[in-house]
């Protein structure tokens, strides 16, 4: 009995040891992967951060107004955001790789899907970022041009420009991510159409005066007015 117990125990211990011996290398490999992954991700983060600083990425994002958005949301700078994002994605990738080494069934498929999804995620983030840059830039350009041309409602114009561009950007982003494609398409179609209609009506009503003034200036502009206006700056 005692012997049986001992043998069973030995068996169990041996099994455990065997099991452990079987899993230990994988575990070690996983831990190593996680650790190395962390190292590599950290390295990536540092390299990316210095590259972005070197190319004055913050300034770029500032120009686009993206920084303002981030500041408002109490988030760190665009460079920091992007570096952290890369760090986490890279590390996560390694950790998942480690887990897959453990050979847990069912998890493999999810991990594979994660890796397939990664490029899309990247591209989407980039599109979103540059889209916001472009939208901010165009909006401000429109605002300044409108103010200097003495056109009515510059801010409305600016907002419209930003909205149009953002609608476009978001539709592209969602399509890239493949999220509820049909729904999104219809939703954005409706939103976009509504915006356009609104703008058309707004311009139609507001532009009546503008058009009249334009025509007046072109056709019946008097010399007196022009002389009064102009002072040579140089």
């Amino acid at each position: 009995m005692r012997e049986l117990i001992i043998s069973e125990l030995t068996q169990a211990v041996q099994d455990l040891a065997r099991g452990f011996a079987h899993y230990l290398p994988r575990l070690i490999v996983m831990l190593i992967l996680a650790f190395v992954g962390w190292l590599i991700a950290y390295l990536f983060k540092i390299i990316l951060r210095s590259i972005l600083r070197l190319i004055k990425f913050d300034r770029l994002s500032e120009n686009a107004g993206a920084s303002q958005l981030l500041t408002k949301a109490a988030l760190p700078s665009a460079t920091e955001m992007l570096s952290r994002f890369v760090f986490w994605v890279t590390w996560l990738g390694f950790v998942l790789l480690g887990i897959s080494v453990l050979g847990i069934l069912g998890l493999q498929e999810q991990i594979t899907r994660f890796f397939l999804f990664l490029p899309h995620l990247f591209v989407s983030v980039l599109i979103l970022f540059f889209g916001m840059l472009a939208a901010g830039f165009a909006a401000r350009a429109a605002l300044l041009a409108a103010v200097n041309a003495n056109v009515p409602s510059p801010r409305l114009l600016s907002l419209a420009v930003r909205s149009i561009i953002m609608v476009f950007v978001l539709s592209i982003v969602f399509e890239e991510l493949g999220l509820a494609e049909q729904t999104m398409l219809v939703a954005f179609g409706i939103a976009f159409g509504a915006l356009m209609l609104g703008l058309a009506i707004a311009f139609g009503i507001g532009g009546k005066d503008l058009a009249r003034r334009f025509l007046e200036e072109k056709l019946v502009r008097t010399k007196k007015e022009q002389d009064e206006d102009e002072l040579s700056p140089l």
Partner: protein
Amino acid sequence: MEDGNFLTDDFLRQLINVGEVDILVGLPTHNNAKTVGSVVHTIRTGILRSFPRERAVIINADGGSRDGTPELITGVSIDDVRRGSGIYALRTLHAISTKYASTPQSEVAMRTILAAAELLRAKACIVMSPESESITPEWVTNLVRPVYSDSFDLVSPTYHRHKFDGLLMTNLLYPMVRALYGVKIREAYMPEFGFSGRLGSQFLGQNRWNDGIGENGTELRLTLAAVTGGFRICQSFLGKKDPVERRAADLVPTLRHSVGVLFSALESDFNAWSTVSGSQEVPAFGTDPELALDPLRVNRKRLRDMFVRGVSELESVFQTILAPSTLGELKRIAGLSEEEFRYPAELWVRTVYEFAAAFQKSVISRDHIIQALAPLFRGRVYTFVVENRNGSANDVANNIESLCLEFERLKPYLLEIWKSKQ
């Protein structure tokens, strides 16, 4: 347009024919057929009268005229084939032309002229405006002589002007250049000027051509290069400045190639200007320029309206450029009634300096920074016009002088915000 082949073969052939010259007259043009004929005639008269023995050439850099401007210029060459001008010429006076592009770009025109000057080893060069209606032969003499006879490297012009003419010059460029670079050059951005071959060559070699923002405004960069390079600078009185240019350009492009160029130069010239304090007169030739006082109708209401609207509409932009106190002050004066409204000198100087610092840091697109200055400048113009409406020439001059001193006084403030992070 690589350095090696910047000039066309045809132009090079013409330059070979001209050969070495003593005096080179550059004439950048674009559809100036109305005025260019008389301008060239006057230039030629000036050369023949004052420099009959010198080898001279008129070089036209044309930005794609379609009205026959280049032909008008080359048509007045004095050589042995065409005669009968009434003026006796000892030598052949070439007038050659090259078309550098189909659209006018003063930078390319200037570069063409400078490259030609270097190839022809010109001792004295002048650039003349093809639009000038009040030009006289003495202008040529007054611009050439300081270089040719007195070894100056840059001859900056002075003019008789109306007191409300050139307000960007009197309210920003002159005081700022004076305060930062320490030299009292009245017309740092000038349609007519003279320079030595030495300065021309150095500028040609060192200037960053085609760097975008300064597509125009090469003249201002030349002036600043002369100042920072330690070249000998003088001012020479020409005459009455043309009222033609009153119809000139939209404010924003003008700001771009004057203030924009100055702001971007500040970045590269930091070591030069940051150590300067006070300002020096530059040697002057000819009579002192006078301010004309005859009444001039100005649409003041529009100026103020555009200022007020600018301040309210562009608040988000100004937040990135201006210090909160400055913006607050601007909002306050924008709210004042027409009678009370005043954009004081100190506030204007702070505004300009903060814009310059923001430009250097590129807090937003540099071009947007320049555009945002336009409504504020209009507000300053309004104040200047109101303050000097009934002022004598002396009063106006004093006003400008005190603005200059304000720019000089606040220079440490610029240095402070220049160095501060964000």
